[in-house]
Symmetry: C2
Subunit: 349 residues, 2 copies
């Protein structure tokens, strides 16, 4: 098992030069004669030598590693975010270490410790940790972390911490969906999903309420639910079972595509046609959205791009003593069939 690790000294000895010279050859420094270089290269290749990044990190005091805290990658939204971040990190010569932290778990002391020990150069945080942790707990933790490295959060902006922040214009997302439905003639529009504990969900909720008010519509159809397909299914049951057909909403905005998926299934079970009887709009533009029946109208939040930009900004902050500002990223409505565009604008009672 233990393949006695070869060091730069072994190479130096074997090539009859000093370790420094070997180091220079590896780093492709200019000040090495072609002859020496070739000689050293040969020995390096012969022994399949690769310098230890661990030693380099110790010396340079930079790990060229970024930590990422996400609720996990099982949710396609975060999976895409991670991959976007990963690509950009590769491009910039950084490595990512992913820490999965379930939505409702707080940033434990043990995780903080692990991060600190690793001496990562910076942290990217998204998901429940920055969405659902009470600010009175979260802010101090972030401040502590911030003392040793720059931090980037992907969530609605947080007050009183010196973090770079990237956020989806969630409010705009709901507003766009709402306006689209309004223009199609809908007036009884319901909002389904999320939980008031999540700041993102809250922001959408607020966007919904505010836009409804602007449109002079009563926002009576709302239902707190989770973020899963099952939650969508349950949500529809709760939302509709108590209502007569006359008072039933004619359109449904779901907090994400998973909830929309569950809703579609449940509506189908109940014999309610989409989009004829009720229009449905999701959010996230997940891979399955074109394949639901009917294909789901949704909003693309571009999580992969968020990830990419996050790494870019964080690395920039590491180099320049840079600007830590908040940046909203646009949300774009993807129109398919579940909203009923093909039916044209109609009049609803």
């Amino acid at each position: 098992m233990e393949t006695e690790r070869i060091t730069i000294y072994d190479i130096a000895r074997e090539a009859g030069v000093s370790p420094t010279t070997v180091s220079r050859v590896i780093a492709e420094h200019a000040n090495v004669s072609a002859h020496t270089r070739k000689k050293v290269r040969k020995v390096i290749d012969q022994y399949h030598f690769t310098p230890s990044r661990i030693a380099q990190e110790l010396l340079s005091k930079r790990s060229l590693t970024l930590g990422v805290i996400l609720p996990g990658v099982t949710h396609p939204y975060y999976a895409e975010m991670f991959e976007g971040a990963y690509q950009e990190a590769c491009r910039l010569g950084y490595t990512l270490i992913l820490f999965c932290l379930p939505q409702n778990e707080p940033l434990s002391a043990s995780l903080m410790d692990q991060i600190a020990r690793r001496r990562v150069d910076g942290m990217i945080l998204s998901g429940g940790i920055v969405e659902a942790t009470p600010e009175r707990e979260l802010i101090p933790m972030l401040r502590t972390l911030r003392r040793s490295m720059p931090i980037l959060t992907i969530c609605p902006p947080l007050p009183d911490v010196d973090c770079i922040n990237i956020y989806s214009d969630l409010s705009s997302s709901v507003r766009q969906s709402l306006r689209h439905l309004y223009n199609l003639g809908h007036r009884r529009i319901a909002f389904l999903g999320g939980s008031y504990e999540s700041r993102s969900a809250g922001e959408r909720e607020l966007g919904f309420l505010d836009e409804m008010k602007k449109l002079d519509l009563p926002a009576v159809y709302r239902h707190e639910a989770g973020h899963t397909a099952e939650a969508g299914q349950l949500g529809v049951i709760k939302l509709l079972s108590s209502l007569t057909d006359q008072r039933r909403p004619t359109a449904l905005i779901c907090i994400n595509d998973l909830v929309a998926l569950g809703s579609l299934t449940q509506l189908h079970h109940m014999g309610i046609r989409v989009p004829e009887d009720i229009a449905v709009i999701g959010c996230d533009n997940q891979f399955f959205a074109p394949y639901t029946s009917p294909p789901l109208t949704t909003v693309d939040l571009h999580p992969a791009e968020h990830g990419r930009v996050a790494v870019q900004q964080l690395v920039a902050a590491l180099t320049d003593e840079a600007m830590n500002f908040s940046q909203p990223r646009p949300a774009v409505l993807i129109i398919r069939e579940s909203c009923g565009v093909s039916l044209g604008a109609r009049r609803f009672e």
Copy 2:
């Protein structure tokens, strides 16, 4: 930005002891008097000191880090596998570093180099890299890697390399689906998806062909396709468009749920009812399977468990000079509605 890093020497000086003692306190060694320990602890806490894992790694020659190569985490199958591995790694005190390598990209020299430099303690490989790379290229690379660390592959077993191997019993997966359909009365059964370049796909293909032969059925309905929903959609078009209704297969086994999803959509477009006109079975039991219409019968391969077991085995190999054997993991058929059980066994011409 640069928060002058505190070292064990700073703590030692401040506490009026030697660095050794501080080290001992941190490692919770026995041989420190209660008084000294308390004194040192206080200084440590005061300065929020955490020992550098980088220095520890350099000294101990172990990084307590495992590398994982996956095609990415965007595919839920691999996302689940990763999370399973992640959990187990946490439990055992290891960190995972994820390298995303697109399905059809070979293990580049640059990636090999990166892995070697990181001095990870072991590697877990799955996806295209071990599925689709020609063996004449793959085996030598694995051998090279194997010289410096234990390797675990999650894929059909590879010949001539000393790797631990975990694999889904893919052949059994197809056989189960096939037999289930057969018992329901189906005789014209089609197989859709995959590509002959992938060893997993090949194994399923073989399972299909072999089982068809055992059942004394002609395996005429096969179609190489990709692994995406779009591929499923296209596959159905190609498979059915040339056939008269009489000769059309009455059942369809898809290589994965994505392909099944695309197939369902396309069948719907073509006015072919599932399961009345054609039964459909997928594979992977992805989260959306209960929410397709009709709900998808599929096979659960338990990727998360694969991930967990992988880490467990690899860590075991790191400690014991352990057993490198191949382990098939069971595949279980999850029966929903797309296969038409509720219709009961029927007679097809």
